[in-house]
């Protein structure tokens, strides 16, 4: 595919690097010489140094033959203008990152008189096919994690019947044993293991060690039970402290509020705390410094179940997350903007570090990469993906047995969904047209896997 990316910030850079790995033609446009130089040095993409919202620039990028344009500059309005112009000039599909939720909803203009038709403005009118909101992405992820047994993200397949979940193995659990000696209470497949040296799809006799991240694929209903093999489950959070009353903080507070979980927001800025206190009904807002130990104790932080740090600063978030942990909070979640901070934060004791730009980049890449696939999850450092395919009647894989499906060496089939029932390999039934297959594959083998389904 020929893909244009407007904006070479963290999101733009990460999307570009994912797309290049899958061998797409990518052009990156940005106004900043420094950002462009950074991209040029590290990625095999073409670059244009100019403002992407100027028609001349995207014409130079040959917009007429672009399969996709992704607008991820800093400004919502610029992104929408880029998409509008791009659509007019012939781009096949457009994606805009828009932080402000108001833009992506419908507007209905007030009627001037009762008989006149009211005008409806749809997001499509802006020429944007897909709005991506990093704030929404991040808060969804946080709420998902807080309301489940395990402090780790989950990916859904086949309408949520099958899940892939990441577990960080703890002491005393099913570790130091070869996989084929493990006694799983329910059928499941270990899709991948992430260790210091990288992510890999394990062999049958691989030994899981403490601290490994295990990606488990199983039917959703058994996931909680299976997780006990690796991690001591915790009950879902029943009271949460959020540091930082920014957009993400507020959205998380609202989401938790809907689930009737009490929330307390700590915001440093006085004006901002006044503002959100007025807006968020039923949420306690306190004004103060989240890195002040005494203040946190006074505010009853040690009594809460979970701590979410969502200020603008990565460093403040990580430090306050650690501080909360030292005060005895059982779960801490931290937002970092720079994706490189994720492994650092998790190494020093943060349970989950989430990066909104990275979540956005992954979401866009999922959308862009596999038009034919139903859903996609990127495991670990993005080197391995889990992709859900539907078997067509003429697909080469149909009527073969799952074992001999002809998947390229290195890729495995994690699960099959047939008539809403989950079949976990090993299984010797034949693949039927209409089956959903969840295939785990390294990036490089994906084209070969895709051929089996087309």
């Amino acid at each position: 595919m020929y893909i244009i990316i407007a904006g070479a910030g963290v999101v733009g850079f990460n999307i570009a690097s994912l797309l290049v790995q899958e061998n797409h033609q990518v052009v990156v446009i940005d106004r900043s010489e420094k950002a462009i130089e950074n991209v040029r040095r590290q990625l095999d993409v073409a670059t244009i140094l100019n403002n992407a919202a100027i028609p001349k620039t995207i014409i130079e990028a040959e917009i007429h033959r672009a399969d996709l344009i992704i607008a991820v500059t800093d400004s919502d309005e610029t992104n929408m203008i880029i998409c509008l112009i791009a659509k007019e000039l012939g781009a096949r599909m457009t994606i805009a990152r828009v932080r402000s939720p108001e833009y992506s909803s419908y507007f209905i203009s007030p009627a001037t008189d009762p008989s006149a038709p009211r005008k409806v403005i749809r997001p499509k009118t802006f020429g944007v096919d897909l709005f991506i909101n990093p704030v929404v992405e991040a808060s969804k992820e946080i709420i998902d994690i807080l309301s489940s047994f395990y402090p780790s993200p989950v990916d859904n397949f086949a309408n949520g019947i099958v899940q892939i979940r990441e577990f960080r193995t703890e002491k005393g659990m099913a570790i130091d044993k070869p996989l084929n000696k493990l006694n799983f209470p329910r059928p499941c497949v270990i899709a991948a293991i992430l260790r210091a040296e990288g992510i890999f799809i394990p062999a049958a006799d691989e030994i899981i060690k403490e601290g490994d991240r295990v990606y488990l694929i199983a039917a959703a209903e058994f996931m909680d039970q299976l997780g006990e093999l690796f991690v001591q489950p915790k009950r879902p959070a029943s009271s949460v402290v959020i540091l930082g009353g920014g957009r993400v903080g507020c959205l998380v507070a609202e989401g938790l509020r809907e689930r009737r979980i009490p929330v307390k927001i700590i915001e440093k800025n006085e004006d901002r705390s006044q503002e959100i206190a007025g807006r968020l009904e039923g949420t306690a807002v306190v004004q103060g410094d989240g890195t002040d130990r005494d203040f946190l104790i006074e505010q009853g932080v040690p009594l809460a179940d979970a701590f979410v740090a969502s200020t603008e600063s990565d460093e403040v978030n990580i430090l306050s997350g650690l501080l909360a942990k030292s005060l005895g909070i059982s779960r801490n979640l931290v937002l970092v903007n720079n994706p490189w901070n994720i492994p650092l934060a998790e190494a020093v004791g943060v349970d989950v570090a989430a990066s909104p730009p990275l979540l956005t980049a992954r979401r866009i890449a999922r959308f862009a990469l596999h038009g034919g696939a139903i859903s996609v999850a990127m495991l670990g450092g993005e080197q391995i993906q889990a992709i859900e395919f539907v078997t067509g009647p003429t697909a080469p894989i149909a009527q073969r047995s799952i074992k001999e499906a002809g998947l390229p060496k290195g890729a495995i089939c994690g699960a099959v969904v047939r008539n809403n029932t989950v079949i976990i390999p090993p299984d010797d039934s034949t693949v039927q047209p209409g089956d959903h297959l969840i295939v785990i594959s390294p990036l490089a083998l994906i084209p070969a896997v895709e051929k089996l389904f087309t």
Binding site: Y2, Q25, E33, Q42, D44, V45, A46, T47
Partner: protein
């Protein structure tokens, strides 16, 4: 720096070189020349050495860092010349291996300086191999390597940057491999057109047409006749060769825009192209006038010879139709200066490049303007683009390095007792990848008489000139080898 990875890919490059030798081998074999045996043996030696190197350094993989890329490119050229000299050595063309190496390096760097005294008596296979090495070197052997093997990811950009002539390698497409491929398609396309034109319209044998094409498109200059293109004495052949020398001296990125993207307008607004054509026309007129004035040559033949010589020298091809060494002093001086100027950036030509001269002239003008108004802010513009100070300082640094190399090599060459004009023009002609110079290394003479140490100096000049100096000299810098 991972030397092992560099060696691994060098092995692959050498295997490819062994395969390339099959071309002259089959030509010689078809025409029943005994020299085809030498090619078969050389191809065997080369391919086996490559295979050995490749297998002994398993693994590889990963992307090339900038240092690895520089090391790979320089070593690639040195080794390619070393192996390509084997057929000359086995066929007994030259008295020693150094001469064979000189000829091979002169081929790959598209210099066209020859140590071969009796060209007509050589078998066709040898002459074809000489010109084939030029043709491979014209667009770049490493570039071809990158186009054929999609192995390097981002490292490929470093490799191409180290090899493509000009201040910076432009990326015409999103992926560097596509850029390199389209450059090679254009190059091959032009070569085929020139071959057919020469063969059919020029009415010369297919062998002559091939060798001339292999000498023109890379702006090489090896000819299958001692008298170069003058031997054919045909206005049509000269016209075709002039046209394709001019084409080869234009930035291939511009060709890409004109022919591939169908935007021919981009050609004539390009400041470098306009300056390039202007210089060609101006120098041709001046030399023609000078010839008419001082030698009494007829107007027609004065222009015919002056245009051919100017185009050949400025594009750094090095073909000739007359012995310009016997021309009046002004004409010779003009040609010598054109040898330093060279062709456009991103073309197959060598020397300092027209675009750098353009920047230098504008920079000099700015210095003069600043002398009477130091507060003036004068951006350096080429076309509509304002050049960043970084680019400008790069151009100036490159020019200083170019002239330093020239002066030092001139001194070295003089120490062997060569006359000033011979010593200087031999350095200018090899550093600029032109080929023939003036004096004892003039167009109808050769480099065979140069002492061994002088040949080594000129070999270094050729390589450094082709790889734009920095690629080669970086390896000499002590800090290149340190971890810092």
């Amino acid at each position: 720096m991972r030397i092992r990875v560099v060696l691994h890919y060098l092995g692959l490059l050498i295997i490819g070189l062994g395969i390339a030798m099959l071309f002259p081998m089959s030509w010689s074999g078809y025409y029943g020349e005994p020299v085809s045996q030498s090619f078969a043996i050389s191809a065997g030696i080369t391919a086996c050495s490559g295979l050995l190197l490749w297998r002994l350094t398993p693994g590889g993989g990963g992307r090339f860092s900038r240092r690895e890329a520089l090391l790979f490119v320089t070593c690639g050229w040195l080794l390619a010349s070393a192996f390509s000299a084997i057929p000359y050595q086995l066929a007994g063309v030259f008295p020693g291996y150094l001469d064979a190496y000189f000829e091979a390096m002169s081929g790959y760097t598209t210099t066209g300086a020859t140590v071969l005294s009796s060209i007509e008596s050589q078998p066709q296979g040898i002459l074809l191999w000489r010109n084939f090495t030029q043709w491979l070197g014209g667009m770049g052997i490493i570039t071809l390597f990158v186009a054929l093997f999609p192995l390097f990811g981002i490292g490929a950009a470093h490799l191409v940057e180290a090899e493509i002539p000009g201040p910076q390698a432009e990326k015409l497409t999103a992926r560097i491999q596509d850029t390199v491929k389209s450059l090679w398609y254009l190059y091959v396309g032009f070569s085929i057109v020139e071959f057919i034109l020469l063969w059919q319209a020029g009415n010369i044998s297919a062998f002559d047409a091939i060798t001339i094409t292999f000498g023109t498109m890379p702006t090489g200059g090896f000819a299958a006749r001692s008298l170069s293109i003058g031997a054919y004495n045909s206005v049509i052949v000269e016209g075709i060769v002039i046209t394709f020398m001019i084409i080869a001296g234009v930035n291939f990125g511009l060709h890409y825009l004109c022919l591939w993207k169908r935007q021919p307008g981009r050609l004539f607004v390009n400041p470098e192209f306009r300056f390039y054509i202007g210089l060609l026309v101006g120098a041709s007129i001046l030399i023609a006038l000078n010839l008419i004035n001082s030698t009494g040559m007829s107007v027609g033949s004065a222009f015919r010879h002056s245009v051919f010589q100017v185009v050949s020298v400025m594009t750094t091809t090095g073909f000739s139709t007359v012995n310009f060494n016997s021309w009046p002093a002004f004409a010779k001086a003009t040609l010598l200066i054109l040898m330093i100027v060279g062709a456009s950036a991103g073309s197959t030509g060598g020397a300092l490049k027209v675009s750098r001269i353009l920047v230098l002239l504008k920079y000099t003008y700015r210095r003069i303007a600043l002398s009477f108004n130091p507060q003036a802010v004068i951006p350096l513009k080429v076309g509509n683009n304002v050049l960043s100070e970084q680019v400008v300082s790069g151009v100036i640094g490159m020019t200083v390095l170019y002239f330093t190399t020239m002066i030092v090599s001139f001194l070295i060459m003089s120490s062997f007792g060569l006359s000033q004009i011979t010593a200087l023009s031999s350095v200018i002609a090899t550093l600029g990848n032109v080929g023939p110079g003036l004096g004892m290394v003039g167009p109808v003479l050769d480099y065979a008489f140069v002492p061994a140490a002088g040949k080594v100096t000129l070999i270094v000049c050729m390589l450094a000139g082709r790889l734009e100096l920095l690629t080669v000299f970086a390896l000499v810098a002590p800090s290149f080898w340190k971890w810092r």
